[in-house]
Amino acid sequence: MKDSPMLATFAWLVRDTFRQARAHAIFYVLMAISIVSIAVCATISIEGPATLAVGSENPDFLPRNDVDVQDPDKLEQSGVMVADGRLTLAFGAIEVPLARDTGSAIHFLELLLAGGVADTLGLMLALIWTAGFLPTFLDGRAISVLLAKPAPRWVLILGKYVGVLAFVLFYALVFVVGTWAAIGLRTGFWDPTYLLSIPLLLLHFSIFFGFSVLLAVCTRSTVVCVFGSLLFWCVAWSVNFGRHLFFTSTDMAAESLRSPLLGSVVDFGYWILPKPADLGMLLFDSLGAHDHFGAAFDPTALAVHGFSMTLSVLSSLTFGLVVLWISVRTFAKTDY
């Protein structure tokens, strides 16, 4: 009895993507970044109060360099605590004085790792690196033999797409779970919300990689895919950020530009394109970043102008699915 060629092809392509990735030097660069990040987290130690807050109240404390701290009598009378802990890296070689309690310091560090390293640097590197996978795969001489196999063409595209997503998931797991475990083991703080960055990072990547697949199917050019994907991300981010700025800015210049027609155009672009800035906001919201960073936009003002995080994510996801569907349809009709 024969096995299903469709399933076998799909499974083989997913596995093949890992082999393809391992053949590139950047595989080891990304792995090195992950290992260094985990190693840095494994050298953390922390001293100081576990929390300055009581229950769900806001922490009531003074920074160590506040003038009132210098007067012990005054401090004792106020009943306010002083943030006097310290965070050390490289087994004590680097000291970072804490401005708040230790839990907050760890949370801040995790925000930097999730938002800065994984969602910005990691996402860009992954997008650049994987942009070359499909054009190589779709080279006429390489793909011909695969097209003469029984699996339908959509399996070839989806197999490669899922393979790349599986690979990015693997990296996200290594990085996020690795740093989370290292920090937890060293400090005793196990914040599960940090792990939410894994699906959010994958969602963000999957939408933009879908666009890269479309470019690959249409042009079969690595250069077009790399620069096209990055340019598209920048355009989508600018439209997304610009739209929110356009509607919420109280700046006189922005207000003078505001017109119903321009507003409609900006809104149209916003709803059509994927929304990387909103996905970034979603990540920061999910990780509770508001304790450390001010919101870029006033949520109430955004809501007045039709913003909804659910609709934003759904429309980005729809964009990714539509683009992938167009890629599959185009590939199915292409002669090689």
Binding site: K2, D3, T9, W12, A142, K149, P150, A151, D335
Partner: protein, 259 residues
């Protein structure tokens, strides 16, 4: 040229056309113009013609790598829409470019799996075929280090891994050394003995003469001749001095005689 077509054949082409649109102005390029051919079971069929005659395009149509603009094609007695028939077809590309990061074992095994060969069977077949093409000692070496001839051997192994009922060989001997060419001859004869069919696209007339039961000459996307090599050689084209009859007949057909 009238060809008697029967659905009971390994491959049937009935008035098949293929028109490409190329360039910014979508210029029309006719690659195949009402090609009618039938390749029977157990037959080794040669396909020859000058460059850009449409030989590779015809094979691509048969393998669903490109779609015909017109006409009807039957593959293993089924229409092209039955992709499952591809599981019993082997294909050697004229200039294969396999993923450079794979080794010979991974490639042959993987391509066998994609043809639906069960996992247990494909392992044995891979081992056997790599031994047969003389690559068993280099089976786990990445093919990036392989010569053109070695790549052709891997290509032959992957084309045979699913025990195809129809083997399509597009310039398979390109870059092969003498032992590999002998192996190719043996493979083709074995397929015929087993009742399977082979389509050999080649510019090498001695190979075609030695191996093929029948041959078709394509010229400008049309069939200029179909018959045995003996019929082709005696098609009434006097040989040039120093040429054999087959060679002169083919040259005359390429030049436009018999149109």
């Amino acid at each position: 040229m009238e060809v008697r077509l029967s659905a009971r054949a390994a491959a049937v082409f009935e008035k098949v056309s293929k028109v490409y649109r190329v360039g910014w102005n979508s210029r029309r390029v006719v690659a195949l113009d009402e090609v009618s051919l039938a390749i029977g079971w157990g037959e080794v069929f040669g396909l020859i013609g000058p460059n850009r005659a449409g030989k590779t395009t015809l094979m691509k149509v048969l393998l669903s790598i490109c779609r015909p603009t017109g006409g009807r094609v039957m593959r293993l007695e089924y229409p092209l829409s039955e992709r499952a028939t591809l599981a019993r077809i082997g294909y050697v590309h004229e200039n294969p470019a396999f993923p450079q990061y794979l080794n010979a074992w991974q490639l042959v095994e993987g391509y066998g799996r994609m043809s639906g060969v069960p996992r247990r069977v494909v392992r044995d077949r891979t081992e056997e075929l790599l031994h047969r093409v003389g690559l068993s000692d280099r089976a786990h070496e990445t093919i990036a280090h392989f010569s053109k001839g070695m790549l052709q051997r891997v290509a032959l192994a992957q084309a045979l891994v699913n025990d195809p009922r129809l083997l399509v060989l597009d310039e398979p001997a390109e870059g092969m050394d003498l032992p590999a060419r002998r192996l190719l001859d043996d493979v083709i004869r074995e397929r015929r003995t087993a009742g399977h069919s082979v389509i050999l696209v080649s510019h090498a007339l001695p190979d075609v003469k030695r191996l093929c039961d029948r041959v078709a000459v394509l010229r400008g996307g049309r069939v200029a001749f179909t018959g045995t090599t003996t019929e082709l050689a005696g098609a009434g084209f006097p040989p040039q001095p120093g040429e054999d009859q087959l060679e002169s007949a083919v040259e005359a057909l390429y030049a436009g005689a018999g149109a």
